[in-house]
């Protein structure tokens, strides 16, 4: 998700090629993809830790920027003696590359988003986690205890952390009442005034819209598309292109686009809505009748993690209601721990409501969480379009 909010563009390549050629050296031989044809998680048989022992004194994380903030890292280091080193990654793809070879005996944990999880699991880069050792786990929202993007056949490959919906953000000047459908993002009426994220996973948003707009296509899961469904979705996105003012890369891009009134509607995270409203911009967000996609992040344990005890201590630490609330507010997302809500409100009045943390479970059921599109579909057939083709198609749409 937040490849954008966090950047990843801080590093700038003047000639581009230099960095790339070095990148080739480091990644060339590393397989980065999802599992093999049989789809069996290679690490499923590894027996997880049974008891958290003495800390190793250090912990190496791959994280989204903002996920290892001094606010909760410093007290963790004091309490456990585990010194935290965080390497920030700019995109899901980068996380998968960094985690290749089970974290390379270098990294312990990665804060992967749902679109990377299955790639990591089937790539054998992460291993099972013993949930009995995570004391706050039983207070997690029910749907985040064993979600299908990080739990397979009852085996957990990580601890859910935070999540958020991709909402429909709109200008209240243009829309006096909240739009009820995503169709406004595909309507010629708003030509040149629409923005959507520059991310291949955005294809799922269009598929979700088609699920109800064109029932004849028979889409049931926006991440599992047959070739025909995929083609129809891509065609919709191609027809959407003339309406797009900009495919946004950074959350701040989109905030800017709304602030300057360049756009009147777009796909966004609650973070943008809250920031814009705090700046007195005339905007609001909604989840239209078709539902919404969303992201959910998981701390996943590297197969070759050199510091497993510190890793478990960290997973426990970030699951506590207080740290969950701190991260939710500092980052603008929804905590997995159901006890975090009152603490959020203490820290910042109304924040629990603002980030939808107090909604009933039915609300979350309307969110289709990001997961890696694989060629194997739930129907048992192997005719779904894999992620590779999603990225190719996305380049063709935006290029």
């Amino acid at each position: 998700m937040k490849q954008s909010l966090m950047g990843g563009f801080g590093r700038r390549t003047v000639v581009g090629l230099m960095a790339l050629s070095i990148g080739v050296l480091s990644v060339a031989v590393i397989p980065s993809g999802a599992g093999a044809a049989g789809l069996k998680a290679p690490t499923a048989g590894i027996k997880p830790l049974q008891k958290i022992g003495k800390g190793e004194g250090k912990l190496n994380l791959i994280a989204w920027e903002g996920y290892a903030t001094p606010q909760w890292v410093k007290p963790f280091e004091t309490a456990t003696g585990c010194q935290v080193n965080a390497k920030y990654a700019g995109s899901s793809g980068e996380m998968v590359s960094l985690m290749a070879n089970g974290g390379g005996h270098q990294y312990d944990l990665v804060s992967a988003s749902g679109d990377a999880d299955l790639r990591l699991i089937y790539g054998g880069d992460v291993k099972p986690v013993n949930m009995k050792l995570i004391s706050d786990w039983h207070q997690f929202r029910p749907f985040l205890k064993a979600p299908s993007f990080n739990t397979i056949n009852g085996v957990h490959y990580g601890v859910s952390l935070q999540f958020g919906p991709n909402v429909l953000l709109y200008s209240t000047k243009t829309f006096k009442t909240a739009p009820t459908s995503w169709s406004i993002l595909y309507s010629k009426k708003y030509s040149g005034e629409v923005t959507v994220p520059n991310n291949p996973i955005q294809i799922a948003d269009a598929a979700l819209y088609l699920e109800s707009a064109k029932p004849s296509l028979g889409i049931t899961d926006p991440y599992e598309l047959t070739q025909a469904q995929f083609t129809a979705t891509i065609n919709l996105l191609k027809s959407q292109k003339p309406l797009i003012a900009k495919y946004w890369n950074l959350a701040s891009d989109e905030i800017n686009l709304f602030q300057s009134k360049t756009v009147v509607a777009g796909a966004a995270w609650p973070y943008q809505t809250n920031t814009l409203q705090a700046n007195k911009a005339a905007v609001a967000d909604t989840i239209p009748k078709e539902g919404a996609t969303g992201w959910a992040d998981t701390w996943m344990l590297a197969t070759n993690a050199p510091d497993p005890n510190c890793a478990y201590k960290w997973m426990n630490w970030v699951s506590t209601p207080k740290v969950q609330a701190e991260q939710a507010i500092s980052f603008g997302e929804t905590p997995a721990n159901s006890l975090a809500c009152p603490i959020m409100n203490q820290m910042q009045a109304g924040s629990c409501d603002g980030y939808h943390a107090n909604q009933p479970d039915s609300y979350f059921k309307s969110i289709k969480f990001w997961k890696t599109p694989l060629s194997t579909c739930d129907n048992g057939k192997n005719d779904c379009v894999p992620y590779q083709q999603w990225t190719n198609a996305w380049t063709q749409i935006t290029g």
Partner: protein, 301 residues
């Protein structure tokens, strides 16, 4: 006869001495050069070769694993679909930025090198180089706030009673931002080559009855050409490889080669396709540099 033997004997001595000194200095040179040379060969060239090899691999659509079988499929892929227009857009933009910068930079460099007093020359050079100290991102964001709706440009136009240009998030915005950011890289080499033109040549041209226009066309321009070409190598290659400016200030039709590489590498995990795409600017630059070398660009570097 004897004299010739003598001369041989005489000349043999110093030559022998000279060659042993030469051998020693050759060893020293080799010793001093080997670390950077090794760096160049191992880190720089070998990674380029690796990239070239990678561009002939492929990614299995089903498993997403890299398939080490050599294939040309990446190159057929980048010659179809959206890629040709991405490549064309990038090259056209790089050319346009280069031409614009050359047109803007030349008179500026000329004034700096040949008209300004020594004191103002230093001031002007400082003014040209000063923006290089500011962050690239800060400059791009500054241009966003100038060009976007409700920005300084629209405001100025509306005060003048003109229609809104609305340049924010368009390819025009990219062009302006690139021209601004790379301008110093064009001014400095042109300035260098103009400054080196001896006054005597201009005097000679005037003495021979050349008008100021023909002096410019037949004396100054040919002598400044290497500097102009050197500057164009910078502006052209920097635009060709950039992917940040299009991300920030570009619109919905602003994907450049760099963005396509970035997308395939970091989001798509398709390393071979990204490598194949990276070969494109290399080929373009090799052609460009070959032409520039023929025209004498490297004499001014």
């Amino acid at each position: 006869m004897t004299t010739s033997v003598d001369t041989k004997a005489k000349s043999g001595g110093p030559r022998a001495l000279h060659s042993s000194a030469l051998a020693r200095s050759r060893w020293r040179t080799a010793f001093l050069l080997s670390p950077p040379l090794l760096w160049f060969l191992v880190i720089y060239l070998s990674s380029l070769v690796l990239m070239l090899i990678t561009s002939f691999w492929s990614v299995n659509d089903f498993t997403s694993q890299i398939d080490h079988q050599l294939t040309g499929s990446n190159f057929s892929q980048i010659s179809s679909g959206a890629y040709p227009s991405i490549i064309l857009r990038t090259v056209l933009l790089a050319a346009l930025v280069t031409i614009t910068d050359a047109v803007v930079a030349f008179p500026f460099a000329y004034v700096m090198a040949r008209v300004a007093t020594q004191r103002s020359q230093r001031l002007l050079l400082g003014a040209v180089l000063l923006p290089l100290w500011a962050s690239y991102l800060a400059k791009v964001y500054a241009w966003i706030s100038i060009l976007e709706k409700g920005g300084a440009l629209n405001w100025t136009f509306s005060k003048l009673g003109l229609p809104d240009p609305n340049l924010g998030f368009t390819n025009g915005a990219m062009w302006i931002a690139f021209c601004y950011i790379w301008l110093p890289y064009m001014i400095v080499p042109i300035y260098g080559s103009l400054e080196r033109i001896p006054n005597s040549l201009l005097d000679a041209s005037a003495d021979l009855g050349g008008s100021s226009w023909s002096t410019f066309r037949r004396v100054i321009l040919p002598l400044a050409l290497p500097g102009l070409l050197a500057g164009s190598i910078f502006t052209f290659s920097l635009t060709l490889g950039d992917y940040v400016t299009p991300l920030l200030i570009g619109g919905s039709n602003s994907t450049l080669i760099g963005n396509a590489i970035y997308e395939n590498l970091l989001n798509g995990g398709n390393l071979p396709l990204a490598a194949a795409l990276s070969v494109v600017p290399i080929v373009i630059m090799v052609v460009y540099l070959t032409i520039a070398k023929r025209l004498g660009a490297f004499e001014a570097l």
